[in-house]
Amino acid sequence: MGQDSSPLFAGSVAGTLRLIGYLALAMVLMVLDHRNGWMWRLRYGAAVAVEPLYRLAGLPVEGMRTLSVAFADRQRLTEQNQRLREDLLLANAKLNRMATVAEQNERLKELLDTQHSLELNVQLARVVGVDLGAYRRRLLINVGARDGVRPGQPVIDAHGVMGQIVETLPTTSVAMLITDPNNALPVTIERTGLRTIAYGSREGDRLVLPTIPMAADVKAGDRLLTSGLGGRFPPGFPVGRITQVAPATTGMFLEARAQPSADIDRSEDVLLLHEQAEPAGPPAPVPPMGPPSDLAPAGARSTAAPARPVKGGVR
């Protein structure tokens, strides 16, 4: 213990002061970050260092996937292939039928002169297997701001809504799942059309609908769809299926629990929805017009052309 300077019992005052200094700094950072959320700007700046680490940390999961494919027996792969073919056939058959309906819909809409479109503008993305903190239901996705991803975009898989993008880095982005306790999603019950809100639950694997009126007709087995209120999610996407309904502890509402229909824990590939066709609404405000620019004083000339983000993806 020659160079050991720490005394056996009492600590030095200076050490305590430094601790207090660091703790105060950490608390100031936390409060500022909680209020302003500028951490993401910092993270965006640090992306050069952060993103390679994500890729590195995602390697084990990627390796496991590759191994599971490599060592899966032929039998299972054949079965899976067969099932996928059948699914594709079925989906194609449904699509063909839908095509006529869509065409009819298009004609009717032309008659009504509306611009709503059912067309989907999606982008395929892969999930990077990274753990972003205990009990945070979030997902890292391998496309980012450079691919035109923006916060607020819905994330879906083949079975239903998974969540929405909360933050983007240059080549990765983070999605909050619908099962996150901080997430609320306006839904409608398919059978009755009742509109309500689905929250993520504390256990984090299901949805809770705590504010259903007592008199409402809700049963286990009812399907939940997005209602499209709030403008984030387009209406009509499957969200989940109600598993149980019981009076809430307050006694003023019914509380239902639902199982998300998306494969939230197992999805490897997800779809990002891009913005839908322009919603009907008031026209965009006209940019303020001044006198001709050659009459304006020097220095006041600006070329204000709002750059539109590039829309990549499959249509």
Partner: protein, 161 residues
């Protein structure tokens, strides 16, 4: 001189490894059992090389972990600083504890860390976590003897201090 540089790189490498292990996900069933790796590695170094680990290092590592986690900047910085402060305060005693006593002390430190985290999250407006939340410190403490011996052994083999 070269040996010193090697030991510095080894120190940094273990901490980066700790951050990476924090990011690597476990299957959903095992998720509550995941120990808090940065705390364990930092504890080892603060017991074995206190000239290298100070509050500043703990704070920096915490900030790096926060940047990776992307939840709340300063959360892990706060936790790791508090953890290292306590560990350094009792370092002389912790070092000469028999392994089982040391493990208990580590368990206490990790539980303290979880309590801090819960307080921070509740203040930030999150719901109280479920009971499985408290499993992780026990797993961390159970792994401590192995981690300690492994790191000690590696250090002997590499002949760095």
């Amino acid at each position: 001189m070269n040996r010193q540089r090697l030991s510095l790189w080894w120190f940094i490498a273990t901490l980066v490894f700790a951050l990476l292990s924090m990011l690597v996900p476990l299957p959903a069933v095992l998720e509550p059992f995941k120990p808090y790796w940065p705390a364990l590695f930092l504890l080892y170094w603060s017991l074995e090389a206190n000239d290298r680990v100070g509050l500043g290092v703990a704070f920096t590592l915490g900030l790096a972990a926060d940047l990776l986690d992307g939840v709340l900047l300063g959360e892990q910085a706060l936790r790791l600083t508090a953890l290292v402060f306590i560990a350094l305060r009792f370092r002389s005693r912790l070092r000469f504890f028999p392994m089982w006593q040391q493990t208990l002390a580590v368990l206490a430190l990790l539980i303290n860390d979880r309590i801090l985290l819960t307080i921070v999250r509740v203040f930030a407006g999150d719901a109280l976590p479920p009971a499985s939340w408290w499993i992780s410190p026990f797993v961390g403490a159970a792994l401590w003897p192995f981690l300690f011996l492994l790191l000690d052994d590696l250090r002997m083999r590499l002949r760095i201090q």
